[in-house]
Subunit: 191 residues, 2 copies
């Protein structure tokens, strides 16, 4: 539903009917299958994605060939490689659908134009990125303060639905340890 995007924007700023129209015209609704790539490293990052239904992940492959998940995007979250978005240099990350996912896709050049036409959207995105940056600060804090094992328990008790929703190896790649170690942790927790 494109209504979902509109509702999300309206939580932060007011929109006039004609602005609403312009906004919807700038987006394209796209579906991606499970495991399908929305973006690969080296490619230009042209799009910003708003998740309507499903789940995206951003990751890279380290020197040892291991996938490392930098972040997830659930319903009503945005995702893009912020540093590469609209720039002339290639992205550093993969973006991939964890489940079958429906997004509202925004092209960078259309976004530029749209932000000029609908100035209140500047505020929407400003608030959005400010929160995202704040969340990144808190995440850094969590990683400093807690051991990997504690990190898992923290995550497990704060976001139980999410933990059930993703395969464990993805959770491990997000929390920064190996699937083997996650097994060990869970075994300990049960006994």
């Amino acid at each position: 539903m494109s209504q979902q995007l509109i509702d999300h924007i309206k939580k932060t700023v007011d929109l006039k009917p004609d602005e609403l129209e312009r906004i919807l015209n700038a987006f394209r609704k796209v579906r991606y299958n499970k495991k399908e790539s929305l973006q690969r490293p080296g490619e230009l990052c042209r799009y910003n994605y708003f998740v309507v239904k499903g789940l995206l992940r951003m990751f890279f492959i380290d020197r040892k060939g291991v996938e490392r998940t930098v972040q997830f995007a659930l319903e009503n979250w945005w995702m893009t490689d912020c540093l590469a978005y609209g720039s002339a240099k290639g992205s550093d990350f993969y973006i991939q659908a964890v489940e079958t996912t429906e997004v509202m896709r925004l092209d960078f050049h259309l976004q530029e134009k749209l932000l000029n036409e609908v100035p209140s959207l500047e505020k929407y995105f400003r608030v959005l990125y400010q929160k995202a940056y704040g969340a990144a600060q808190m995440r850094t804090r969590l990683f400093y303060e807690w051991s990997r094992e504690e990190l898992f328990h923290h995550f497990n008790s704060n976001y139980p639905d999410f933990v059930k929703r993703v395969p464990q190896y993805l959770l491990a790649s997000f929390l920064g340890f190996t699937p083997e170690y996650l097994s060990e942790i869970r075994k300990k927790a049960v006994s």
Copy 2:
């Protein structure tokens, strides 16, 4: 110099003379001594700081009583606890001057008013936070990809001036390890 702030804003957006006036009126220039606190955990976070000259750090104290530096702000950087800024809940962090530091301080309520009066500033901050968020993504990547030792060498070769500028125990608290381990690394590197 307040000119420095204006120059920084003008790199992203154009300003009319009267807007320039309003902007400068919203800020207050403040000096902090070395080790002085700009903010403590539990306090409301009322201010956003633009560093004119000097160096700020944001940190917290973990369960074991160890200081953990979440980020630094050099000249022309902004710093605040983004999640607590302007909200009714207390901050989670300390903000402290590493050196004697001169800042342009912006009160949250004045910022709200200012952003309404000078809409182009919305864009300035949107771009600013977008970049900051992108940088946080890249930082997450660095922490995933490299060992603590490699992290230090990476940092040392990319920002040698910065490494010379801060005491080593602060660098350790930023890179996420102990001063003792930093000593060990440096010893190894020399031999």
